[in-house]
Symmetry: C2
């Protein structure tokens, strides 16, 4: 039984119906043991993805401040090779980025075949923060859902596997985490006064997330809602969803890399033979 | 009366119905005088585009070998400032480009606000040469028309003005130009044996161009067919189409740059005043 909620295209979703405190009926120690296994398997799958070179993987992380975007990336991708993945954080757009369409900076960071791109925030900010704070008129942001779906379909048609995680925390848990950061000076760099201001827009954000998740869940680029009040469970649920998404490709990748290897060996033997004759 | 044929969305077009030798009833000297005026006006319009910073311009050039893509760019953009424009030639994709979706390399070259991007060949090669030489299966390239329209709409929604030129030459004129290049060693670098081989696929290319032009002519990104057997007339027709496209924006750009200028002057005077007080 999956730990996270996979959204289905065309289906209504209410975030308030999903419990951020869910633990899948597990104890923490149990969850951590399962995570270790899953992230090892993810490492294997990445190696196959890399060697086969037939697909790429795009993983999007979104969530309110403190929801654990950085933390999940650290915990889940700790048995994967850094050579095969690239993490792209999307912060406030630069002037040059702002002078292009909103997908320009994102498109440049999409993964080539064999690679994983991890988006820490993403093009979805352009229908989230932009909407909540009215940084663009509705006439502009409301067109973006379709642009996003078209863009993600373009990637999917080029064999990019897309998984999008919404890390779902409760406002109470967020408050706790912000206070924790305030108490520890080593963590306070992650904090800003703006975080407290942002909290006031919580319900506006929930509305924006619900619409984005609903309108941009497609068969080729689903959203997955991850209960995130418990960090260990959030990590487990993310890892499980990723592994479940990739497992069906395993056989094809093994076949593809075997084929590549055979071709390479044939070429190598031919080259060796030629050199032998020349000497 | 426009010298080039502006294609209309949803309308059939037969390239064989358009005369590549058309001269608009003009003599060459007359045409060259008109071109000079138009390219001066284009220079002025570019300055306004740049200063206003509200729009960008994307100009696509496509055509068979020797149709005059380089030549038109040289002749038409000779009174525009190189600071405000960027020419992107799209050649055979690199391995990294090939490992991304076909629009990846193109998207990175789109113009930011205030700028002109000129594409010497473009994303259309992926439904032209790729189709003619079966470099990808039909299932792949046939999906690209829609991807292209979606992509161009994304750009248009961000205030990019798009104009796409098909430089239309006859196979007889091409033969003449190839032979001319062969005769002059200084021109032969532009020639390759492949050019003669490509000629054999002429009618396949015409079919591919007709479908691309028809399916990817939209209100926001029209194709313009330019009779190109006479170089002077081709240049004139390109310049005229560009100027006609940009003229309606002139007033808005003047207003926008006046507004920007006013704001700047107010800020400058305030800064000067402050410094005065400090000293």
């Amino acid at each position: 039984m999956p730990f996270a909620t996979r959204v289905h295209p065309g289906k209504k979703i209410r975030l308030s119906d999903i419990d951020p405190k869910a633990n899948g009926g597990l104890e923490k120690a149990d969850g951590e043991a399962q995570l270790e296994k899953l992230s090892l398997e993810l490492g294997e799958l990445q190696e196959l993805l890399y060697a086969a070179g037939t697909h790429s993987l795009l993983v999007v992380f979104q969530g309110m401040d403190t929801a654990g975007k950085d933390g999940s990336i650290r915990a889940v991708f700790n048995h994967t090779s850094p050579l095969g993945q690239r993490i792209s954080p999307f912060k406030v757009p630069t002037p040059l980025e702002r002078d292009h369409d909103f997908l320009w900076r994102v498109h440049s960071q999409t993964p080539e075949k064999g690679m994983i791109s991890i988006f820490n925030r993403s093009h979805y900010e352009d229908v989230l923060v932009v909407r909540v704070h009215e940084l663009a008129p509705k006439a502009v942001w409301s067109k973006r859902f379709e642009h996003i779906n078209n863009f993600e379909r373009l990637l999917a048609d080029s064999d990019t596997i897309i998984v999008k995680f919404y890390l779902h925390i409760s406002p109470e848990e967020q408050e706790q985490r912000l206070l924790d950061r305030e108490r520890e000076v080593e963590k306070a760099w992650k904090l800003s006064a703006a975080d407290w201001v942002e909290r006031r827009s919580w319900s506006k954000y929930m509305t924006a997330y619900e619409e984005a998740i609903q309108r941009c869940t497609t068969s080729y680029a689903p959203w997955i809602v991850v209960p995130s009040d418990r960090k260990w469970f959030r990590n487990l649920a993310v890892a499980e969803s990723l592994v479940e998404t990739l497992r069906p490709y395993r056989k094809g990748w093994v076949d593809a890399l075997t084929e590549r290897g055979q071709a390479e060996l044939t070429a190598i033997r031919a080259a060796r033979g030629e050199r032998g004759r020349r000497n």
